[in-house]
Amino acid sequence: MTFAITATQLVRTFDSNRAVDGIDLAITSGEIYGFLGPNGAGKSTVVRMLTTLLNPTSGTATVAGFDVQKQTQDVRLRIGVALQEVALDPKQTGREILDMQGRLYGLNSARRKERINDLIELIDIGDAVDDLVSTYSGGMKRRLDLAAALVHKPEVLFLDEPTTGLDPVSRAKVWHEVSRLNTEMGMTIFLTTQYLEEADKLAHRVGIIARGRLVAQGTPTDLKRSIGADVILARISRDDTDKALFALRSLSGLDHIEAKGDSIVIGVANGSVSLSPIAVALSNAGVHVLELTMRTPTLDDVFLETTGTRMQEVATT
């Protein structure tokens, strides 16, 4: 097994702020790795260190087999990067930007033409490629930015929140392209996102980062399974919370019980088997149940399990 990305105890501090706090990574070649976390969790700082834009304060990392601090040029030749903010020159046309990227990666004229034609098709930009970037919509800019990262067919592609700000149609297109680049070209993809659905849908493995630390890692299925096969959500009166928790904790077979606002989140191995005993236990305890629903766990449930808060709550604090 070869690793496209490794990191050992990667740390980055900014003054007294420990933005990245001892991250370990081992991402195999050909993998799509989803790096999931709320705003400010340290995702972009990790990307900037892995792509040679920022030195770690301590720890080591390799990308495509090369040390990100000592072999920067070797790393740069092998990576493509689409940063969180679209990085384009509005006074150039799309074609000029792609051509310049090709030049800087040493592609000859014929190869640049071929790659640009391929990429125009890939990002579905048509004749607009010869218009100034300042005239592009947000979605077009995002797609051109992705194309600029792909001109030299990198081994490892870093996508830092590639769909933030995109409409659902453009988001679906990016997802499709990410999957295609991985399956057809074998490209390793390191994808940061704050969208649970994106990580769930695209990534072979997901790492959950919170406050600079990797708090959970695994396939989306395994991560979700770790908190129970099903989740039962009981919406109750807030006054009944203590009674409900007491009643539920006396039941066997419940993997996880958490009070969140006016809801009790219960992780169980088999939802259809546990639903009835839960309803009975709550009723016997005199809890007024407003709603009782069952669903499969989400990555947000995993985030809740590992950090004690939901992603949305962290993002807004």
Binding site: G30, E96, L107, M185, G186
Partner: protein, 267 residues
């Protein structure tokens, strides 16, 4: 997970010259598309040439006498006004703010070409800025004692001065990443432009202004350029003009490239 093998490495280092031409091509395209930055910069020296001659010619020529040609004396001042401070430093700040600088830094580009490429575009622009001012000078009756070749040397001195001065703007742009700070870099131009022989010959200057002019590189720059118009091939004056430019350039380039190193270092 895929089992498809990875394609062979397509990228390689393009090399210094290719990096340089790539950055310069982009900067020249930007310059060509940005007429709003060029036209006012050209208007100011043409305006000063006309106004200074109109208001001071009779006074200065009357006081100095001996057939002193104030129009010829003023032409280098206007040219220096045209070329000093012309740079892509503002665009560099926008690149930093927009993240395009990061896009370039993610490539294996030779870091020094990020500045040198812009400077090539600056050099082209200062040559272009010089020509209309010289044409206006010729129209109003200025002639070059050194002929056409002298005119080319005149443009060369002006262009190298313009280039030497760009280093200050780039240093400020890279240090601050702030467009307002870059716009205020023109304040550096004032002591160079006015504590010198901009309006009267050095022999007529006395007191602190005369002392300041003695230490101002622009004094020697103007003397060399004026010699090409008014005197002839005065190798000492021309040599001092190039030397003054080299001194300013070495200071400003040292500042600019050390600031660039600080900016691109993976801090």
């Amino acid at each position: 997970m895929t089992t498809t093998s990875i394609a062979p490495l397509l990228a390689r280092r393009a090399g210094f010259v290719r990096d340089l031409t790539s950055v310069a091509r982009r900067a020249l395209r930007d310059t060509a598309r940005d007429g709003s930055a060029v036209i006012p910069a050209l208007f100011i020296p043409l305006f000063f040439l006309v106004v200074n001659i109109g208001s001071l010619q009779t006074f200065v020529e009357g006081n100095i006498g001996n057939g002193f040609d104030f129009k010829a004396f003023q032409l280098p001042v206007s040219v220096i006004f045209a070329v000093t401070g012309v740079s892509r430093a503002g665009s560099l700040v926008i690149d930093i703010q927009d993240g395009y600088m990061d896009r370039l830094l993610l490539t294996p580009i030779s870091r020094s070409t990020l500045l040198l490429g812009l400077m090539i575009a600056d050099l082209s622009l200062v040559v272009i800025m010089t020509i209309p001012v010289i044409i206006l000078g010729l129209i109003i009756g200025v002639s070059f004692a050194t002929g056409f070749l002298g005119m080319l040397v005149f443009i060369l001195i002006a262009a190298t001065w313009g280039l030497a001065f760009t280093g200050f703007s780039y240093a400020i742009a890279l240090k601050t990443g702030n467009p307002i700070a870059v716009n205020n870099a023109f304040l550096l131009f004032f002591p160079f432009a006015f504590l010198t022989t901009a309006y009267v010959p050095q022999a007529q200057m006395t007191g602190w202004l005369g002392t300041a002019a003695n230490y101002n590189p622009a004094t020697y720059l103007l003397a060399g350029m004026r010699a090409l118009i008014m005197t002839g091939w005065d190798s000492r004056a021309i040599g001092q003009a190039f030397l003054a430019t080299a001194i300013v350039g070495s200071v400003s380039f040292t500042l600019a490239f050390s600031t660039l190193r600080g900016r691109v270092r993976c801090k």
